[in-house]
Structures are given as C-alpha cells and as structure tokens.
Symmetry: C2
Subunit: 210 residues, 2 copies
DNA sequence: ACAAAACCTGACCAAAGTGTCAACTTACTA
DNA sequence: TAGTAAGTTGACACTTTGGTCAGGTTTTGT
C-alpha cells in the first residue's frame, strides 16, 4: 500500500510521472478533457492503467498537473516588454519569442486553448491572477512608452490581446492557418514570416513616424 | 417506422430540428464533441432523447449539421474586402462586421474553434475548400491594392490570419480577454474598443502615409 | 539478510453513455 | 372519417470508461 513518502532520490517515480504528463499533454490537447480516456494515456505512456492511478488519483489531477506545468513555460516568452527597452525592439523580441515557444510547444498551446474555450473549468484562481498580474506589468510599460511619446496612443490591453491572439493562432488553429497559407503543414519559415508580418504591421502602426 | 419523406409543409419537423440544433450549438460549444451527451441536448431542447434520435441518427450527424449551419453565417461578415473599396474603409468594415458577428454568435464561434483545435475531425473537405476560396479572393484584392500602391507591401495571407485571430479571440477566449481587460465580462463597448484598436493598429501599419 | 516501503498489475465494478425498439399518439389527406 | 404517415416515448440492450483492489514483485535502508 502506498503511503506518504518523502524520498531522497526518486528515480522511478520521476520518470513515470514525466511519461504520464508527456502522454497526457499529447492526448488531452488532441481530444480535450472529456474526450481523453485514461486508458489511452496509459497506453501512450507505456504503463498499465492501474499504474497511472498509482501516481494520480484521478483524471482531473493529471489534467491540472499539466496545466500547472505549462503555465510555467509561458513566462519566459513574455519577459521582453521592459521599460528600458526601445518599443520596436521589445515588440519584435516578444513576438518572435512567443511564436517560437508556441511552435515548439504546439500541444501545450492547444491544451490551454481547449481549456479556455470550454470556460476555464480547471484553471485555478491563482493561475488566472498570475496571468492578470503579468498583463498589468506589460500594460504599465506600454503606458509609460505612450507617456514618453515613444509610441502612439493606443489601448495597451487590446494591443496585447491582438499580439496574443495573432501568435497563438498558428499553433491552436494550425489546420486553418495552413489552409490560409496554402500549405499542407506549417514549417519554421512560415512562423518566421508570421513574426515578420505581425511585427511590421503592429510597429508601423505603433511608432510615431510611421 | 420512419421512411423517406419529401414533405410539402413540415412544421413539426422544422421546429424540432431547429430546437435540437440550437441546444446542440450551446452544449457542443461549452463541452466539445466528446464532452457532450445526447441526453443533455435532449433535455435542453425539451425533447426526450429517443425523439432526438428520431430526427438524427447519431451524435455525429447532429454535430456536422451544426458545423454546416454555422459556416453559412460566416460569409456575410467577409464580403467587405472588394477591390473597388478604399483599403482603409474596407478593413474597418471587415473588422467591425467580423467582431459583430462573433459577439452575436459566441457559441458558434467557440464550437468552430473547438472543432479546429481538435484537428478539424468533422470539417468536410468541401467546407475547407470554401474557406480557402474565400481567402484566395481576399488575398487577390489585397495584392491588387499593393500593386496600385494603396497599401504597403505585406504578406496578405499572414495579414488575414492576424485579422481573423484578433477578431475571433474575444469570443473564443472570453475568459482570458476579460481578464486582460480587467473586466468580469465583455460588453458591447469592449467589442467596439477592440474594433477601434485593431483597425487603428493595422491601418497605420498598412497605409503608405502612416 | 530481512523488513518495510515503494512499485506494479490483472481483474473487477458501478456509473454513464450511445443507440434501439415496439407500441402508442397525433397529424394529415382523400 | 378512415387510413396512413409522421411523430412520440419509456424501457432496454450493449459498450465504454473512471476508478478500485487484493495480492504480487522490486527496491531500499540497516
């Protein structure tokens, strides 16, 4: 029988949890919460179902563990908006980093999107608060830029929504994006072209001189 | 036993199918395909489950009927991009119409988003082709504008993805959009401000004079 | 070496869900 | 108004699935 454990080394446990999370991201992102069956996660992770339940006591627990896990990765891509940077540079870096992260973590991106579309049922209060805090900080920077005359007056919150939406789209709605670009699948070059187009479009609209 | 019917009037049938579709849009959009139980659709439409099966032979059939239905509504919002219009006016109208449609059809929007995120499992070939055709026509218009020097050179396909993404976002990811705007829920004013911000940002970036 | 903790797993269960059906009622038509 | 087509429905058959469990094996600390 399993009990409380406060282990010193934990090899097996770590590995198996990693395998389960990995398989979970893949399958939850493709099928959504309800569409995912634990048996499938078990199979994909190479573990028998009962073994999955040895590490996680419920489907929901696997799911929330994954959400938690992916929110950690988010912040890195968003650290470029700082008051001491020039706006043009900051936006370019931000857009590029976000698209890069999105491209390399398509499954996570979709999983998050799925979760939000279905009303953020399992997204914790504190996680939402975290997102809000990050946004507030960025908004403050943009407002400072506006005050300094470095960019034209624009609603910073809607601006960030535009950026977030545009960058997410390529991963979340890949079939539509690919159709729109007349390609069978998106490649690195497409993400690069996206970064360029988004940055150019937004910047010329945001910079004073045009 | 039900058979082929080629009816002249069809009141009851029409009404019930409408009720089922309506309930289906609501529930599929909130729970996704797999998360939706026919019993729930039945309850929401005020019909017993067996009666739902009298009109639709399977869950999938209800779902694809809905997808079909909502694609029809799409086109209206997209008719403003025509070569004889001035770019600024065309984009403003397009953005406004798209956001308007999205706001008034939140459930449909989300249902579509859900379907795409999960790999467009049930989206028919011909429907995808239709979306592609519409895009092609719009792209041609933008290319003409560029050739005439009416707008700066920009990749039209990525530009449309930006517009599509930005306008969809408010409905599809309402919880995040609301958090970002620091509001409990989105209202008409928020959609109006969104239209203004998106249009301003894109136009100043796309128009030659800045 | 030995015990205890950690790990593993086939078999099982109860709940929930899709789809069916036979019998019934209502609506239409000639 | 009689006959037929359309619509209605409770009950049920069958399958899937989240979750449990008893008893087994392996790992670890001393």
């Amino acid at each position: 029988m399993p009990r409380e454990h406060k282990d010193p080394d934990e090899k097996i446990r770590e590995r198996n949890i990693r395998l389960i999370i990995k398989a979970g991201i893949e399958i939850f992102s493709r099928k959504g919460y309800d569409g995912t069956r634990i048996a499938e996660i078990a199979e994909a992770s190479g573990l028998p179902k009962a073994n999955v339940y040895y590490y996680f006591s419920s489907k929901e627990q696997i799911y929330t563990a994954i959400i938690e896990h992916l929110l950690e990765g988010w912040d890195n891509a968003l650290k470029y908006i700082t008051a001491d940077r020039e706006p043009a540079e900051a936006f370019r870096l931000y857009i590029r980093a976000k698209l890069d992260y999105t491209r390399k973590n398509v499954a996570e991106s979709r999983l998050f999107a799925s979760e939000i579309i279905q009303g953020a049922r399992f997204l914790k209060k504190k996680d939402r608060q975290h997102v809000r805090d990050v946004t507030d900080r960025h908004v403050a920077v943009v407002e400072a830029w506006i005050a300094e005359g470095k960019i034209l007056p624009v609603d910073p919150r809607h601006l960030f929504i535009m950026l977030w939406a545009s960058t997410q789209f390529y991963a979340d709605f890949e079939p539509i994006a690919a159709d729109g670009l007349k390609k069978p699948r998106l490649k690195v070059e497409d993400y690069e072209m996206a970064a360029k187009t988004i940055a150019e479009t937004v910047l010329r609209g945001v910079l004073p001189q045009g």
